[in-house]
Subunit: 200 residues, 2 copies
């Protein structure tokens, strides 16, 4: 029998992608579900919906609730939390490095470290220095990775990944998509998505 | 010791208010938390945020996910589900009757019946005939209730209730607010809100 699988679609700047990224590994392992990390960019997807920035900035009451809710959620999960400034951060560079990194076995560790840098340590993820430090922390030589991240091949792959996200019905982040194309949006839907993956 | 309490803020036209209304009674009873039903109108609150209708209509991809998600959620909860047409329905009349009804011990039963009429039976809740049938089903004479619902006193109470919702930071529905003013938005947050209420 094939192992059940799930695609984890996230944007590094997305607030609820942080707890989802930190939770998915252990939960999927327990459920016997294989996870594929798929970073994409929310910016073009928001823009296509007529949104000029994050809905959490466009609708201040919604934003106030989100920050408080995320703080409560992280406390329950015993995840450190610090509000990124500015918000949202530009996640283009991190997404490109992640795409290059996910060809290697340390790719998911890199993704976790980017979320930690942004949501625990107050780092800016649009800064090549932050990327270099994270890579060095994983004992990866940053120079070839940062060069690969700026290659035409990786740029095109990130564009294609973002277009695929849109075609799959994605309008926010994080998302979990099962092998039959079922879309589950939101950190809250991780458990339901894993059950669905196992029911196929 | 005082019983822990929670205010349940909902709009009859709000899709996720349906499972929340059907779940809250048993969960709150088990948690030993007293619930107060507080119907309000999302329309003025959306309007104040510059939204001309439900975000699920304004953002079609978000709307498509919501309908599918609600269908999955209701299946998991073994709640019947039928998509209301039109959506959103005008919930003004139902909210006014509910406010008058919540002064009586059958008020919550009336609220459940309005959600069932809309989300299971395909009824229009802006129709006085639907309201009369629901009231008659609860063995309440509809005429004095419908008259009370159209009184200046109830109209003013619904306006005040909606203004209070906005002042408390409400931007959508459903919501749960604990005695210390903590706002939990969304059917998904019901369990967390009950835990919070019990921790005070």
């Amino acid at each position: 029998m094939d192992t059940a699988g799930i695609d984890f679609w996230f944007d590094f700047a997305s607030t609820y992608s942080y707890p989802a990224a930190m939770r998915i590994g252990a939960l999927a392992r327990d459920a016997g579900v294989k996870v594929r990390f798929r970073p994409f960019l929310l910016g073009p997807i928001f823009k296509a919906q007529g949104l000029t920035t994050s809905p959490f900035n466009l609708y201040p009451a919604k934003g106030r609730h989100m920050w408080r809710d995320l703080e409560r959620l992280c406390a329950d999960l015993r995840l450190p939390f610090r509000r990124p400034d500015p918000f949202p951060q530009n996640s283009l560079l991190a997404a490109r490095v992640a795409l290059a990194g996910l060809d290697h076995d340390w790719g998911e560790d890199f993704c976790h470290a980017v979320f930690r840098a942004q949501f625990c340590e107050g780092c800016r993820i649009d800064d090549a220095g932050t990327m270099s430090e994270i890579l060095a922390g994983l004992e990866i030589d940053p120079r070839p990775l940062l060069a690969a991240a700026q290659s035409d091949a990786i740029k095109a792959r990130l564009r294609a990944q973002t277009e695929e996200a849109q075609q799959r019905g994605i309008f926010g982040a994080p998302n979990f998509i099962t092998a039959d194309g079922e879309l589950f949006w939101g950190n809250d839907r991780l458990e339901a998505a894993l059950r669905w993956a196992n029911s196929l």
